[in-house]
């Protein structure tokens, strides 16, 4: 039942029927994307790992009552996103922990690859500085490629709210990342964005 060809729904059914490996297979299929979401929203690898472990255990226990009218993926992702949001709400301001630089297969030495990696670090640093209410929808929509409708469902907010939070977040990022030349009028940019901008300028030299 845990063969690669099984659908997610098949795996949930197998899990409910007592297959001890079905749920782990389901998790294996989705864990990388969920890890990225957790890490980018929580910004702390230890917290992301704790959130995912809690979420997967919670999903494991709730899977027997899963109803097929919703997509397995959406259901599982919603549990993960909620676990992350709960942690974001509970915690006070915490120092930002640098994220891993890149995925597998990243070239080590070539100059262009290094510049690209620098750019990604700058973008990730800028993303980390956004308020949490803007960072979560931007991570889901703009980085992970969820639709606005899916994101609204995952975050439990209206689609219009997703759009406007993304809009505000993107406007800040555009300034921080140096895509907007004249940033004088709007002052919503946090202080340490200056460092991010300087980083980008250095990288562009």
């Amino acid at each position: 039942m845990t063969a690669a060809a099984s659908s997610d729904a098949d795996l949930i059914t197998a899990h409910a029927a007592g297959d001890p490996h079905a749920f782990s297979e389901l998790v294996r299929r989705h864990r990388d994307r969920m890890w990225a979401v957790a890490l980018r929203t929580l910004r702390d690898p230890e917290e992301a790992a704790d959130a995912l472990q809690e979420a997967f255990i919670s999903a494991f226990r709730a899977a027997a009552s899963f109803r097929a009218e919703s997509q397995v993926t959406t259901w599982l992702h919603r549990i993960v996103v909620n676990a992350c949001l709960d942690r974001m709400r509970r915690r006070q301001t915490r120092p930002t922990v640098p994220l891993p630089e890149a995925g597998p297969g990243e070239p080590v030495a070539p100059r262009d690859a290094m510049a690209e990696r620098e750019t990604r670090l700058v973008v990730q640093a800028a993303l980390n500085e956004l308020p949490e209410e803007q960072r979560a929808p931007i991570v889901l929509v703009d980085v992970e490629g969820y639709s606005v409708a899916e994101t609204a469902q995952l975050l439990g907010i209206a689609e219009g709210t997703v759009k406007s939070r993304c809009a505000r977040g993107r406007a800040k990022l555009a300034k921080v990342l140096g895509h907007l030349r004249n940033q004088g009028a709007d002052a919503n940019v946090p202080v340490n964005d200056v460092q991010v901008q300087q980083g980008r300028q250095l990288e562009e030299r």
Partner: protein
């Protein structure tokens, strides 16, 4: 934002243009604003900057889950699937080895029956990946009791009942009095156990005595090994510093 876009610009605020860009404006305002913006070079620059921002975000690389996190979650799920799994007791294994050597065979066999756990021999050179297989035995009596940790308390284990503290130890990376992975590895080496970084490690109490419990990967997905050491006495030359060693297979 209702139909007053013309009055508010140009120049329009970045936030307003970002809302237009995101499709967040109501249809009437968007219909009014769109042609004006398209004829305004400064506004078009801002929209281009927002496009470039989106491209930056799209180009962020995937972040695969690190192996140690994946192993930790696999172990937690395996434990969840088998909440009452019996474990292989290190002391029992040593007893069996002693039995093979003819040391107090009758007494040790009686002890094994009394605690009702699966017993295997621990080979001379163990690694975290080659442990024995725990046999699930629903008839096995409870061999001890454990309470889940409470705030300010160390996780407490009695007997061989590690289940209630498993999740907490799995989430921890606290070597306690052992301080670091090297010292834990030294202690395990005393019992011929070779181990890398534990999935989780935490100070506990074992039968009210301070100890350190670690959960190690056991070589195959869902398999793991629980070890408990006495931080006061364990070391590379002391096999008795390892108080318990149990391997669970999926």
């Amino acid at each position: 934002m209702t139909g007053n876009a013309r009055r508010s610009g140009p120049p329009w605020s970045v936030d307003l243009l970002a809302e237009l860009h995101a499709g967040a404006l109501d249809p009437r305002t968007e219909a009014e604003l769109r042609p004006l913006v398209e004829n305004d070079p400064e506004a078009r620059e801002i929209l281009a900057a927002l496009d470039a921002t989106l491209e930056d975000l799209h180009n962020l690389p995937p972040i695969p889950m690190p192996r140690h996190v994946a192993e930790r979650i696999d172990a937690a799920l395996a434990d969840e699937a088998r909440p009452t799994a019996p474990v292989i007791d290190f002391a029992q294994a040593k007893a069996r080895r002693a039995k093979r050597l003819g040391w107090g065979a009758g007494l040790l066999a009686a002890a094994a029956v009394a605690v009702g756990v699966a017993v295997v021999a621990i080979p001379g050179n163990n690694t975290a990946g080659d442990g024995g297989v725990a046999q699930k035995d629903p008839t096995a009596p409870v061999t001890g009791s454990a309470k889940p940790p409470t705030s300010g308390d160390l996780p407490a284990v009695r007997g061989q009942n590690f289940g209630p503290v498993f999740g907490d130890v799995l989430k921890a990376q606290n070597y306690g009095p052992l301080e670091n992975q090297e010292k834990l590895a030294d202690c395990l080496r005393g019992a011929n156990i070779t181990a890398g970084k534990p999935l989780g490690v935490s100070p506990i109490t074992l039968d009210d005595k301070p100890a350190v419990m670690a959960i190690l990967p056991a070589g195959t997905p869902g398999a793991y090994r629980i070890v408990v050491v006495d931080p006061q006495t364990c070391g590379p030359d002391n096999p008795d510093g390892v108080l318990a060693s149990s391997t669970i297979q999926p």
